[in-house]
């Protein structure tokens, strides 16, 4: 719960007038939102001078990411310094890459995977266009369509209304296409299927539930305010009725990794700091090398896109909490209080892998163990109540973006699944992989245009 506590009650910057500027590209809706009245939610972490660094890219539980964070330069899509956007502001929707990958990670998540239920390619295209229109409005803080309060009293309003009056809350909406969308005889996309969009192999110890796995489409909604994230998914699901249906979804809180040199390294549900050395959203070189699909990677439609792996990782909280501090620290390969690697004093000190147990999580997940493979993680903690036996149904909803799943997640997870000491305390119960198309360039563009045109 530490991560959650950390995230609340910290100073929240009031919204200056810049939201309107950022949202200028989008037509203001009939109910452009006034000042937030829910200042108690979410919020940027307080600015302690600690830069995010240490940490380790693990796929399994993935503590921290890899690679040294670069300096904060232009962030996302040359459009705005989203990293410094305070809680509540709008993140630009249009750009070269989709927002929600390298942009700053807000504290809340609603992720949804959809089955496409229509068999009509044109209907699927129309859905993506309608989604794009709605997403541009919602991320700017506007309501969908004619808004939540009209215009016809006999009819339900276009927007569901629970986000009326709330700020944009740094909402980002990111769409992905699952392998099943490219199946033969479906939408004529078989030829377009990227080679790198592979089904993940079975990893030892997986206990995947069908009802929490797969999907033709996914939407990742990140926001500072959970209500704003849920509102977005709910409205997109509603727009999709008859064309696509939610297959499964996941709520998340307390980001477990960061794409910004963050004020304070977040902790995961095991109480360990996480995400200190994730690929930084400002590290253009690392992003180009490890996250964005290059034109030469093929296929052309996916250039400037990425691949997303989503895993629901259940954590056996109760047994973990009965584990001695020493064992916990050995398992991770760093100390719990400071986050320093074994034998080192500070969280951000360069780790000496050989000092760690060969089964330690950090050592196994380190890029040195995988030919330098790195992934950009945006995972969240989750707690879905209890499991009927009184145990917390809690864990990590792992989300990782990479340029090629075969060189990113798969080798890392293969190694972790075989050897990681942490496996005694975690289990992968859901899994999905998606190709994430490039960004929506401007107001005439739409999600997936390059794929379908």
């Amino acid at each position: 719960m530490t991560a959650e506590e950390d995230s609340t009650g910290t100073g929240r910057t009031p919204v200056p007038g810049r939201r309107a500027d950022q949202a200028a590209a989008v037509e203001p809706g009939p109910e452009a939102r006034p000042q937030d009245t829910r200042a108690e939610t979410g919020g940027a972490r307080s600015s302690v001078g600690r830069r995010a660094l240490l940490g380790w890219g693990g796929a399994g539980l993935a503590l921290g990411a890899v690679a040294a964070g670069g300096t904060a330069t232009a962030l996302h899509n040359d459009e705005a310094d989203a990293a410094s956007a305070s809680a509540g502001q709008a993140v630009p929707f249009h750009g070269t890459h989709q927002a929600g990958i390298s942009t700053a990670v807000p504290d809340r998540l609603h992720f949804a995977a959809f089955d496409v239920t229509t068999e009509d390619r044109e209907e699927l295209i129309q859905l993506l266009k309608d989604w794009t229109t709605a997403a541009a409005r919602m991320t700017a803080g506007h309501a969908v369509g004619d808004g939540a309060f009209g215009p016809v009293p006999e009819s339900p309003p276009d927007d569901t209304g629970e986000a009326a009056g709330l700020k944009p809350s740094r909402l980002t909406l990111t769409v992905g296409f699952g392998p099943s969308l490219f199946d033969k005889d479906r939408f004529g996309l078989a030829e377009q299927r990227p080679e790198a969009l592979v089904e993940l192999p079975a990893f030892p110890g997986d206990k995947l539930e069908k009802a929490r796995s797969g999907g033709d489409l996914c939407v990742q909604a990140c926001a500072d305010d959970p209500q704003v994230a849920v509102h977005a998914i709910r409205n997109l699901a509603r727009i999709a009725f008859g064309k696509a249906a939610i297959r499964w979804s996941q709520l998340g809180f307390g980001k477990t990794s960061s794409t910004t040199p963050d004020a304070q390294t977040p902790r995961n549900m095991f109480g360990f700091k996480d995400g200190t050395r994730n690929v930084s959203g400002s590290d253009k070189k690392a992003l180009d090398e490890h996250v964005w699909v290059a034109e030469k990677d093929g296929p052309a439609w996916l250039a400037d896109g990425s691949y997303l792996v989503a895993r629901r990782i259940r954590m056996h909280i109760e047994t973990w909490d009965r584990t001695s501090l020493k064992e916990q620290e050995d398992i991770f390969g760093r100390d719990k209080r400071e986050g320093a690697p074994v034998g080192k004093a500070k969280e951000h000190d360069e780790p000496f892998l050989k000092a760690m147990l060969p089964t330690s999580h950090v050592r196994l997940a380190h890029p040195d163990a995988h030919n330098g493979a790195r992934i950009l993680r945006r995972g969240y903690s989750f707690t879905d109540g209890t499991d009927g036996l009184g145990r917390l149904d809690a864990g990590l909803f792992f989300l990782a973006y990479q340029r090629d799943v075969r060189r990113g997640f798969i080798p890392i997870q293969r190694s972790l699944a075989r050897h990681d000491a942490l496996n005694e305390y975690i289990q992968h119960v859901g899994s999905a992989v998606f190709a994430v198309p490039p960004g929506v360039r401007d107001k005439d563009d739409w999600w997936g245009r390059e794929l379908f045109s």
Binding site: E154, S155, G242, K243
Partner: protein
């Protein structure tokens, strides 16, 4: 939102209605001048005046025919302004009502059957109510006929079911249970609008309040369902409950003509039928003992489809894309349901569907998705009708 309302007391009705409203049969004691004379025979219905001032209106009815008759004053949409039943051959009766300016029909029903013999009349003066689209009035009128017809069709089926219960024939009663509910399920929003009937005939056990005794306070179809499938025996109480069910359904049939139905209540009623499916049938809660949920499901969809078809000409003019989508989704849900149909479709009284406890989780998800796919555009029908 309740789509239709019961015309109970004219004052209450006047308070809630919008258009030309008001009037239920009252005890006629006023009499004398100004009364409109209605002369009914077995094949005619003469009216002394076809125009009369709006306000307190009295009909002086004389039945000169050989059959018992009834007399109605009807709105253009078929709703009853006022009525008088059981006017015996050779007798007289008086009917009074508060009638606002507008067009009406007076109908005599010799033998108390059918549509009756009708006369157009007009109440004049006062602020004329805004004219409604005659196409919409026709839709409402046709839908009212449908609702009445469903109630009339339901009674004999329910009677057969009740007889099987009273005869203690467990297997036969089980077979007749689901078909006895179809007419009710097709028109449920209208049926439910009579607040007192629905809890008597269609209550589930978990609908009882704290302090209510299932033994005493639980009546209707689902109580019998539990006896037949769960307890697997028919008690003396069940036999009494079967009689009670018929009595309550008869009340329903009598009241249907007075339900206030509007084009938007038809449209939203259709959506509500899908909501019934979404909240009760898809989950298997409605027919938890008999597992005949798919029969109810089918009937709900049919009822919704009827409303839609009647409103379609107007909706098409205002929102052609919506109509196209609804046609597609109705066809899709029918196709999906047909996969579970087990009879040959020849016998209109036979509705055999797969027992819902045999429908797997994935299949239920598909049915649920299908309902969402239809109900979402259906929720926009009302707006398309009133545009």
């Amino acid at each position: 939102m309740r789509p239709v309302r019961l015309c109970a007391v004219s004052a209450a009705l006047a308070a809630i209605s919008v258009a030309a409203v008001s009037g239920c049969a009252e005890k006629a004691d006023a009499g004398g001048e100004g009364a409109i004379e209605v002369t009914a025979t077995d094949d005619s219905c003469e009216v002394s005046r076809k125009t009369f001032p709006a306000g307190h209106v009295q009909l002086a009815v004389e039945n000169k025919g050989s059959k018992v008759t009834e007399v109605y004053v009807l709105y253009p949409d078929g709703r009853i302004v006022t009525e008088r039943e059981n006017i015996g051959a050779g007798t007289k009766a008086k009917v009074t009502a508060e009638i606002k300016a507008g067009d009406y029909e007076i109908a005599c029903k010799p033998g108390m059957k059918g549509d009756g013999i009708r006369q157009k009349v007009e109440a004049t003066g006062g602020g004329k109510p805004a004219k409604r689209d005659p196409k919409l009035d026709a839709a409402v009128s046709a839908y009212r006929d449908y609702v009445l017809e469903q109630a009339e069709l339901t009674l004999p089926k329910a009677e057969k079911f009740a007889e099987a219960v009273k005869a203690g024939d467990l297997e036969k009663a089980k077979k007749l249970y689901a078909p006895s509910r179809i007419g009710w399920e097709r028109t449920e929003p209208v049926a439910e609008s009579f607040g007192t009937i629905d809890p008597k005939v269609d209550l589930r056990e978990d609908g009882l309040e704290d302090g209510q005794d299932p033994e005493k306070d639980w009546t209707g179809w689902h109580r019998l369902e539990k006896s037949l499938w769960k307890n697997e025996k028919i008690t003396a109480t069940d036999k009494k409950l079967a009689d009670q069910l018929i009595k309550d359904l008869t009340t329903w049939q009598k009241k249907v003509g007075k339900a206030e139905i509007t084009p938007t209540s038809m449209a939203n009623g259709a959506k509500e039928l899908l909501d019934e499916v979404a909240t009760g049938k898809v989950t298997g809660e409605e027919e938890r003992y008999s597992h005949t949920d798919l029969v109810d499901f089918k009937a709900n969809v049919e009822g919704a489809h009827k409303s839609y078809e009647l409103l379609k000409p107007v909706a098409k003019k205002n929102d052609a894309a919506l109509v196209k989508e609804l046609d597609t989704q109705f066809a899709a849900i029918d196709e999906l349901l047909d996969k579970y149909r087990q009879d040959d479709g020849e016998d209109p009284d036979e509705y055999a569907f797969t027992s819902y406890d045999k429908v797997g989780k994935d299949e239920r998800k598909k049915l649920s998705d299908g309902v969402n796919a239809l109900a979402e555009p259906l929720s926009k029908l009302a707006a398309a009708v009133v545009k």
